[in-house]
Amino acid sequence: MPSNLKIRAALLSALLLVAFLALWQFATMPSAGTGAAVDPEYAKLVGAAAAAGQKTPFPAPLEVGAKIWAHIADPFYVRGTNDQGIGIQLGYSMARVAVGYLLAALVAIPIGFLIGMSPLVYRALDPFIQILKPISPLAWMPLALYTIKDSALSSIFVIFICSIWPMLINTAFGVASVRREWLNVARTLEVGGVRTALLVILPAAAPTIMTGMRISIGIAWLVIVAAEMLVGGTGIGYFVWNEWNNLSISNILTAILAIGLVGMLLDQVLARLTRFVSYQE
């Protein structure tokens, strides 16, 4: 029974989570101190833990839970430029992703259409795409900073450049593989070019285009964290780096969880949209 399967899967998920938390709890339990031979002056200087040869203790699950709760309770506080709520930081990142991603869609879908419809354009642009596609988006960062001279715009550019390729390639592929017979129907009905593009090719290629857009949003969300770590200032990537400098592992873990949740949300939205335009043959 499918509902039965669902319940069992949920139970197993819960079990795995509990086991993971228990393991985590167990691993972070403070070890019995052996620090008998620590010079108290040295301990004063570098901190008790370091003096005893220990690192900053990895936080226990409850500690992180409390931190997460604190962030949920007050996600949008602003206490100066370097201390803003995690909600605000996520908002900055999502806004950058949204702008870069939409710009990429505006460029990639029309060009992808052109590539898909014209073998000449396909062959002409193919070498450029093949070379540009495998470049890590972060490699563009110095160039972007040099030419744009604005760190916020540079990170948007990096998002743009990383999300353009899957959309471009999928659009071209989707358009090129529209069934010949559908195009023939349009031709025998003397349907004009624009009408064919909008009413036949676009809906026929829409599921493939949406798949490309779904891949792109995933990549964009991966890249924004790294980009913000580089350029700093605001955003969830900057938040993570800032908390690393503060050595606040709890905050880093909170941010990691938040990044995962937002990524899943973005993916789910695109999955919904894909289902909306997909059709069954």
């Binding site: 025998t188 009905l189 003397e190 043959e281």
Partner: protein, 306 residues
């Protein structure tokens, strides 16, 4: 031909040029035949003789490497709303509903029509092909026969001067095929539609066609002869086989497909065959009329000029 034909296929050919500068590969050449207004013509031949290519050339979707197709005395230069195509694979847009698919065609034909006029026109043809109640279903929710009905409704809805059918029923089961053949027969009788249909079902051709064009095997396929269907036009699937002409015509065509389509070159080696005027035969009229003085096989010099 004495009178001007409605559609005239004049010496069309299809050649493929290989990678080398050698002789081009000829699929068919020097194909001549014609259709009169209101006539139902079937084309029969084995796979690879270029049947679908001929239909696509007639539709304007493909271009002949030689020759021309004249409609009403004018050479065609591309696809036209006057020549509707019913595709073998129905070619419905899967993201559109039944009425959406038909409305797409209707709006292409009459772009200025108001919404209700388009809807009423679509409904008329949906009712005609017996799909009332399935208007808002998507093609994926329909059976093969129903999909082909939508294809027929879409083609008829634009009120073309001629219908081109590319093995429209070959993907259907025998029962559905029979029902649809009856409907096509009925619709064509009612509307006087000019139809050109490709098939490899001999019974289907005899049931539906006024004339049956027989093509030899490729490469270098040609129109071997044109069989006049002498059965009375008000045929029905149930008693057609009781008519004395039926088996004569059927045997003639089957003989051709099994034996003569392969050896036609030998058959015409002694001359007398003119591809511009493929022999017109009436095997339904019996041995005497069909074979005349030469016993056995019909020879080109026995043709009855139309």
């Amino acid at each position: 031909m004495s009178r001007e034909a409605f559609i005239s296929i004049e010496g069309i050919a299809r050649r493929f040029h290989g990678a080398t500068a050698a002789e081009p590969q000829v699929v068919f050449e020097d194909v001549h035949f014609s259709l009169d207004r209101g006539e139902f013509v079937c084309l029969i031949g084995h796979s690879g003789c270029g049947k679908t290519t001929i239909l696509n050339i007639l539709a304007g979707l493909d271009q002949a490497d030689a020759g021309a197709v004249l409609v009403d005395g004018r050479e065609i230069s591309g696809p036209s709303l006057d020549r509707a195509v019913i595709f073998q694979s129905h070619a419905l847009m899967p993201w559109m509903s039944v009425v959406g698919n038909i409305a797409f065609a209707v709006k292409s034909r009459w772009p200025d029509w108001a919404r209700d006029k388009v809807a009423a026109h679509c409904q008329k043809y949906i009712d005609l092909v017996g799909l009332t109640g399935a208007e808002h279903k998507k093609p994926a929710q329909l059976s093969g026969g129903m999909k082909q009905r939508v294809g027929i409704a879409r083609a008829l809805a634009i009120q073309p001067k001629m219908l081109l059918m590319d093995e429209p029923f070959s993907a259907l089961d025998a029962l559905t095929r029979g029902v649809l053949q009856d409907e096509v027969l009925k619709i064509c009788a009612a509307t006087g539609q000019t139809v050109f249909m490709i098939t490899h079902d001999v019974d289907e051709a005899i049931l539906l066609a006024d004339r049956i064009v027989l093509m030899t095997n490729g490469p270098r396929a040609k129109v071997a002869e044109i069989v006049v269907n002498t059965l009375p036009r008000d045929r029905s699937r149930h008693d057609i086989h009781k008519h004395p002409h039926y088996y004569r015509i059927r045997n003639h065509i089957v003989d051709f497909l099994v034996m003569r389509s392969r050896r036609f070159e030998e058959e015409i080696a002694d001359g007398g065959y003119d591809p511009r005027r493929p022999p017109l035969v009436k095997p339904g009229l019996g041995e005497a009329a069909a074979t005349g003085t030469t016993p056995g096989r019909a020879k080109p010099d026995l043709r009855i000029h139309g």
